[in-house]
Structure formats: structure tokens, C-alpha cells
């Protein structure tokens, strides 16, 4: 999108608010819905990818070290990855905690 969404005025909108740009939903930060954040102990990670398969978003990808990690721009903090991880890599912590 040409403008960040908070700068779009009513005059900028297409007729009927039609969205003509494909894939524009990728610019939508669903990460700010999150109340809990996944934290990782990668020493336990088998790189099996079960967390990525179960992620409903799906926002979990392999990082440079090969470990699976959520993209916090999209992660809504549902905790399914933590529940499904067979070795307990992931712990959900409240957003306000460090």
C-alpha cells in the first residue's frame, strides 16, 4: 500500500473500499492482538517443525540456525505451538513480563 494505514484519508479510498492490491493482508499487524508471547529454549529443539505445522497463522519459520521461531509481527499468542512441542522448547509468557 502506498501510504501507511494511519495516513489514509477518506479521499484515498477506492470506490466501495475495493482492495485492488493482491496480498495486502500481509501488511496487517495481527501481532498486536497478542497477550502472551512465545519464548524459546532452543537447546531442546529437535527442528521437527511440529510447531510450524500446527500454527494457525501460520507464522512460524526456520531461523538462520535452523530452529523454528514465530514471526511476532503476525503471532497472536495462541500458545498452540507451546502445547504441541514434544520437547517443551516453547514457554508462553505474559507480554508485560520481560
Amino acid at each position: 500500500m502506498a501510504k501507511p494505514e494511519h495516513e489514509i484519508t477518506w479521499r484515498d479510498l477506492a470506490v466501495g473500499c475495493v482492495v485492488t492490491e493482491a496480498g495486502s493482508a500481509s501488511g496487517y499487524r495481527t501481532g498486536d492482538w497478542r497477550s502472551q508471547r512465545p519464548t524459546y529454549d532452543f537447546n531442546k529443539c529437535l527442528t521437527c517443525g511440529i510447531c510450524a505445522l500446527f500454527c494457525p497463522e501460520p507464522c512460524i519459520h526456520q531461523n538462520q540456525e535452523g530452529h523454528f521461531e514465530a514471526d511476532l509481527f503476525y503471532c497472536k499468542g495462541c500458545g498452540i505451538c507451546a502445547r504441541e512441542c514434544p520437547t517443551g522448547v516453547i514457554t508462553m509468557v505474559a507480554e508485560e513480563e520481560q
Partner: protein, 391 residues
């Protein structure tokens, strides 16, 4: 050549849809609108119009199907009444916010309960704020003409809004009257083929009905409101062109014998013809009485309305619906709001009647003048009085 025929208004509206060369109709039968879509389904089945007639299981589905059809760029028509319009309700807002130029004819009917299939404006008033262009026809000829014009207005690139054409259930919909039907050549010359700027097509993907979170919803509604207000210009232009071509002119506000009138009725729909009969009689008796007919309901014609009633002493607004526990007749509430800021304005009194198909006869309009003068003199407890109700 156009020809005058004796025809039921509902059938004339089906003819209008045929002459408009609709691509899609999706509709569900409901009294008193049934004859429109029943006749239209026959015209489609007989191959008189090359359209898809989608039989749906409800009015909610009818409007949803129309929405999808219009989004592909198809010329789309439907009709309903009363509870059917209520069942369409939530989808109406999606059609207008998506700017899909669907034409919907409503044979206005009272809302239950008690269960009633006869005419009044309670269904129309429940959809007042749905963001459509809305107009009220007085008789079968107007219903036919306004339906043809509705396609032209809706599809104008400056408009792209759905249009609702209202006619009174039974009092207009079921009346056989002489109506001048345009021929195919005339309608073709007036109504160009429809080209929608954002048609759904696999070659050019786009999203309609997108999510509008708090950061954009206000901007979306402001854009819709500005665009709806701006349609006023095109509505005038289309009605003017229709008048020049076919000799029948329409305006947002019409007047009848208002020159020098001191007391003026104001109403929408077919009862204005009864009021005219009463006005003729009162004029013979030397009473300076006239009538303002409100044809365009949305966008509301503020300037035309103010001009029409500026020199009037008493405005008698007749409503066929009731805002319960509130301001009385919805039309009158609107009129009062439109006049509140004016330095020179008439006194306004409101009568509610003609509910659920009850007739209002000429002598009752005469009574409204007498009673209206008394109310304007001494004031009244409520914002309105009901006319024709047994005490």
C-alpha cells in the same frame, strides 16, 4: 413507440426490468410484491429477457445473490416487501458500502405484529439509514419510470450506489391503471450497457467487502456519505433527461397548488393523490391549501424542501409509519430537523395514519387541516396525532 396500456403496476415494473435488459434477478415471493417477480420469472422463462432468475430460499439470500451478481458487473434486480425487506436488512448495508448498483423495488408493507400484509411505510423506515438511494413513487406510471431511471442512476460512474424504488403495497402495486410503457428502442437509447469499474474477474483479482478495522472504518463511512450526497446531481440530471426524452419529468420535491397556499400537506407515496382530491375541494371553498410531494428520500433534498415550504404558515406532515416512543412520524421528524435552523419556517404538525393498509379518505385530509390549525394554535401533548383511529 411507447404505448399506453391498462396494466397492473407490478406487471409494469416487471416490464421495466425486462426493458432494462437485466442480467440477473434473485428474488423471493412476498405479498404485496409477489406479482413483480412472478411476472418477471415468466418473462425470463419465456425468453423475453436474457437473464438468470435465481430462485433463492429467503430474502437474505436474494440480496446476497444480487450482491455477488452485481460485483461481477451484471445488471441486477430484485423486489421485496415488509418482512422480506427486514430479512434483507444486514445485506443492504453491505451492498451500499460496497457501492454495488443493485435496483430493488419495494411494495411497501406494514411490519408484523400483529401480522399484516397490507401497505404502510414501516418497512421503508426501518431501512432508512442503510445508505441506499431511496425514492417513493406515487402511482404505477411513476413506479415504471422511476425503475427505468433507477438503473441509469445506480450505474452512473459518478454514482455506483444501489437504488430502492418504493411504491405503496396494494394501493399502487395491485392497481390496474393506464401506464405508458416505453419500447425497447427508447429504453436502449436512454440506458447504456452497464460497465462496472471493479468487476470480479479471475484475470484481475481484487477484494470486495474487506475488513474495516477502527483505523479505517470512519474514513470508509465518510467516503460513502460524501458519495451518497453527491449523487443528488446525477439524480437530477437523469430525471431531467428522462423528462426531455419521454415527456414525464420528476423532481426530488413536487408541489400541487402551493402558489399562495397558507396550509400545505407534505407526504410520500400514493396518498398524496387522495390529498389532491381533498385539496381541490377545499380550494373550491376558498381555503388556501396545497401539497408538497416528497419523492427523493435519500439523499434527502434539503434545499428543494426548504424552498418548497418557505412561505407556508402551517405544514401538515402525514406519515404512514410510527417511531414508537419517539418523535412520531419519521418523515415529520426529518422535516422538522431540516427546518430547525431556518429563520423563516412554517409551524409543523404531524399526523400518522394509513397504517397496515387502512385507507385515508379525502374528508380525513380535510379533518387534518382543521385539527392541524387547532394544534398549531394551542399546541399538543405529543409530537403527533393518529388519524382514523377508533377512540
Amino acid at each position: 413507440m411507447s404505448k399506453k396500456v391498462g396494466i397492473e403496476a407490478s406487471f409494469a415494473i416487471a416490464e421495466a426490468a425486462k426493458l432494462a435488459r437485466i442480467d440477473v434477478a434473485a428474488a423471493y415471493p412476498i405479498t404485496p410484491q409477489t406479482h413483480i417477480v412472478e411476472r418477471l420469472s415468466e418473462l425470463v422463462a419465456d425468453g423475453e429477457v436474457d437473464a438468470e432468475f435465481v430462485c433463492v430460499e429467503s430474502e437474505h439470500s436474494a440480496m446476497s445473490a444480487c450482491l455477488g451478481a452485481a460485483a461481477t458487473g451484471a445488471r441486477t434486480f430484485t423486489a421485496t416487501a415488509g418482512q422480506g425487506l427486514e430479512l434483507m436488512h444486514e445485506v443492504l448495508y453491505v451492498a451500499s458500502s460496497s457501492r454495488l448498483p443493485i435496483v430493488l423495488v419495494v411494495a411497501d408493507r406494514a411490519l408484523s405484529g400483529p401480522l399484516n400484509v397490507w401497505g404502510d411505510h414501516s418497512d421503508a423506515m426501518a431501512t432508512r439509514d442503510c445508505g441506499w438511494i431511496q425514492m417513493f413513487a406515487i402511482n404505477g406510471q411513476e413506479a415504471f419510470d422511476l425503475t427505468i431511471c433507477a438503473f441509469r442512476i445506480a450505474e452512473d460512474p459518478q454514482v455506483l450506489f444501489p437504488v430502492m424504488v418504493h411504491l405503496d403495497g396494494f394501493h399502487v402495486s395491485h392497481v390496474v391503471e393506464p401506464i405508458i410503457l416505453l419500447d425497447q428502442e427508447e429504453v436502449d437509447s436512454f440506458l447504456p450497457p452497464f460497465t462496472y469499474p471493479y468487476p470480479l474477474h479471475p484475470d484481475k483479482p481484487l477484494t470486495i467487502g474487506a475488513f474495516g478495522p477502527p483505523i479505517i472504518y470512519s474514513e470508509a463511512k465518510k467516503a460513502q456519505e460524501e458519495a451518497l450526497i453527491a449523487t443528488h446531481t446525477t439524480i437530477l440530471k437523469v430525471w431531467d433527461e428522462f423528462g426531455k426524452r419521454f415527456g414525464r419529468s420528476y423532481a426530488p420535491v413536487d408541489t400541487y397548488r402551493t402558489e399562495d397556499a397558507e396550509i400545505v400537506f407534505l407526504m410520500m407515496g400514493s396518498f398524496s393523490q387522495t390529498a389532491e382530491v381533498a385539496i381541490d375541494k377545499m380550494r373550491e371553498e376558498g381555503k388556501k391549501v396545497g401539497l408538497v410531494k416528497l419523492r427523493l428520500w435519500r439523499p434527502f433534498p434539503f434545499e428543494e424542501l426548504r424552498r418548497a415550504v418557505r412561505d407556508v404558515q402551517l405544514l401538515v406532515v402525514f406519515d404512514r409509519a410510527l417511531s414508537m416512543g419517539g418523535t412520531g412520524g419519521p418523515v415529520c421528524a426529518e422535516i422538522k430537523a431540516a427546518l430547525y435552523g431556518e429563520e423563516k419556517r412554517p409551524k409543523v404538525v404531524n399526523f400518522v395514519g394509513g397504517l397496515g393498509g387502512r385507507d385515508v379518505l379525502p374528508h380525513e385530509f380535510e379533518q387534518m387541516v382543521e385539527r392541524g390549525l387547532a394544534l398549531a394554535e394551542k399546541g399538543h401533548e405529543r409530537a403527533y396525532e393518529m388519524i382514523g383511529v377508533r377512540e
